[in-house]
């Protein structure tokens, strides 16, 4: 159906989006690469001499770098695991006939609307604070010592907060997918004597594959650059226990104001993100057209 004419028109219609994104990507990226080759510290204005790859070797030789990479992976992986598995279970449950399904859905979807700064502040102060937080009170009730979440398990605490926001997202996508499942197919399987577990693995899970892919893709995009939650709760600490790559680059360029090293870190982060992107795109590309 595509004629020569409509192809030209299509290109013309896609052009604005592509050009804008290209500009948005290339101009700052070009500047970042340029800065990364300079000795450029905001606090010490001067002539910003060209230093080649010095900033890169400084950034990469920082022991924090490996920790930050690991933390980034743990953060993304942890949140994905919790939200996907939790989302499937929750979706299966809500998909059952229950009373007040509408209200349950409204309650479950709510955290997704909460902005990250608010969620982080509320969790940090009103729940996880070991003196006045609600968790400390619960621990006290059970005769336990209050647990200092953000100091003793900072990364896990942040994974928890982020998962709270994104669990609704996963649940809703998966729920919608479940609801589109042909019930006759399930009934037929039931007649054939397939138990609930086997029905889940042989019919439901394959049906959900596409939805799960989407959940993973969208969340990865957002979680690779988690920032606000870390800034508000732990500032990347204690030590570097909750520093991810994003936060490390932030610390270099805006806490130490070493824009040169920060930019080098930015370039490294961009390269790593692109590796993840390529990997993901392969996966999603296959699944989306299937």
């Amino acid at each position: 159906m595509a004629t020569q004419h409509s192809r030209a028109a299509a290109r013309f219609m896609i052009a604005p989006s592509v050009l804008l994104l290209l500009g948005w990507m290339l101009i700052p990226l070009g500047m970042t690469i340029y800065f990364s080759l300079l000795r450029y510290n905001l606090l010490m204005p001067g002539n910003n001499p060209f230093v080649g790859f010095e900033n890169y070797s400084y950034f990469l030789s920082d022991p924090t770098f490996l920790t930050a990479m690991l933390n980034t992976l743990l953060l993304v992986g942890g949140v994905l695991l919790i939200t996907t598995v939790g989302g499937i279970l929750l979706a299966l449950l809500i998909d059952q006939p229950i009373w007040g399904q509408g209200i349950v859905r409204i309650l479950v979807i709510a955290p997704f609307f909460v902005m990250p700064t608010v969620s982080a502040l509320v969790w940090k102060n009103m729940f996880m604070n070991p003196v006045n937080g609600l968790f400390a009170w619960v621990a006290d009730l059970m005769g336990l010592q209050p647990y200092d979440f953000l100091a003793s398990a900072p990364l896990l605490s942040i994974i928890g907060m982020v998962s709270w926001t994104w669990l609704p997202f996963a649940t809703l996508i998966l729920l919608t997918a479940l609801q589109s499942l042909d019930s006759e197919q399930l009934e037929a399987a039931e007649m054939d004597g397939a138990g609930p577990v086997s029905r889940f693995f042989h019919i439901m899970l394959p049906h959900l594959a596409r939805a799960i892919t989407v959940v993973i893709l969208i969340q990865t995009i957002f979680h690779l650059s988690i920032f606000a939650e870390i800034l508000v709760t732990t500032n990347g600490g204690p030590g570097v226990a909750s520093t991810n790559l994003t936060y490390l680059v932030y610390a270099e360029s805006l806490l130490r104001f070493d824009v040169g090293t920060g930019s080098a870190g930015g370039v490294v982060a961009i390269i790593l993100a692109n590796i993840v992107a390529i990997f993901l795109m392969r996966m999603i590309g296959k699944n989306l057209d299937a």
Binding site: S6, A10, S17, P97, I103, I109, M115, V118, L121, A177
Partner: protein, 276 residues
């Protein structure tokens, strides 16, 4: 899906589902509740549920101190503005990709999505310097531009997945009847695409409303939205849980209410074409 289950089974399922839902919702409930307490009651041990003197004092304090309404208006302008602008740019692109797919279409789409994976801190300083030079720091225009660009890939993708579901035959038929490209879009496509556009708009307003990196770093006072408003309640002096709760409630209430009212459209929007 109406499957027959025993009443006993239904009762158990309901109980479990309700318990989980209430647990998930509890932090929001607790925040709202705390916002009506005094500071001392907010940290009372044991925690107070309903047996306290309800007060609106915190809301008054917060408004006096931080001018909530101006931040609120900034949030509205920025999130709605960037979403509408994004949709205007994205509709033609998504339309073309859906109906005139070429060999590169999928790659272009994937490339667009991959731009969203660039860590924003990597380019903060350049953007800051550019904005300074063109006078866009601390302006709503500046934020609308940035948020349009960062959400554009998501908008294109969402619209694309909707448009693809519109059967091509209808367009063929319209073309047979001699419809021009313009009328094809206006009279055939648009009515069918409206639900998809609506949910795209809704989701992106939420994303833009909650965006906390660029809005915090590129604004000072004039254009600061609610994300910046809430930042001033991070560890202030003395007791602050009640004030923090009031500010939090004010920051999330508008979007929460909007989200609840448009739940149906939104849920559909959230599928990203995951459900055929």
């Amino acid at each position: 899906m109406a499957r027959a289950v025993t009443p006993r089974r239904k009762a158990i399922n309901s109980a479990v589902a309700w318990t989980l839902a209430i647990l998930i919702f509890f932090p929001i409930f607790w925040t709202v509740l705390t916002s009506f307490k005094t500071e001392a009651q907010a940290i009372a041990d044991p925690p107070l549920f309903f047996n306290f003197d309800w007060t609106l004092e915190n809301y008054v304090t917060v408004q006096e101190r931080s001018n909530y309404f101006r931040h609120f208006w900034n949030s509205v302008v920025i999130s709605v503005g960037s979403t509408l602008l994004g949709v205007i740019i994205a509709v033609p692109a998504a339309w073309a990709m859906a109906f005139v797919p070429g060999k590169q279409t999928k790659n272009v789409l994937m490339w667009m999505l991959s731009t969203k994976m660039l860590p924003p801190v990597g380019v903060l300083v350049p953007i800051y310097l550019i904005f300074r030079n063109v006078g866009l720091l601390d302006t709503r225009t500046g934020l609308v531009i940035v948020l349009t660009l960062i959400n554009l890939p998501i908008i294109v993708w969402m619209l694309y997945t909707y448009f693809r579901e519109i059967p091509g035959e209808i367009l063929e038929a319209a073309r047979m009847d001699g419809a021009t490209l313009r009328s094809e879009i206006l009279y055939v496509l648009t009515p069918m695409a409206v639900p998809g556009i609506a949910s795209t708009v809704l989701l992106n307003i939420i994303l833009a409303w909650n965006e906390a990196f660029w809005t915090l770093n590129l604004t000072a006072a004039n254009a600061a939205p609610l994300t910046a408003f809430i930042a001033s309640y991070s560890s202030p002096e003395g007791l602050f849980y009640a004030k923090l709760s009031a500010a939090s409630t004010m920051a999330i209430a508008p979007i929460l209410i909007m989200g609840w009212f448009s739940q149906k459209q939104l849920v559909r929007g959230l599928t990203f074409g995951a459900v055929k």
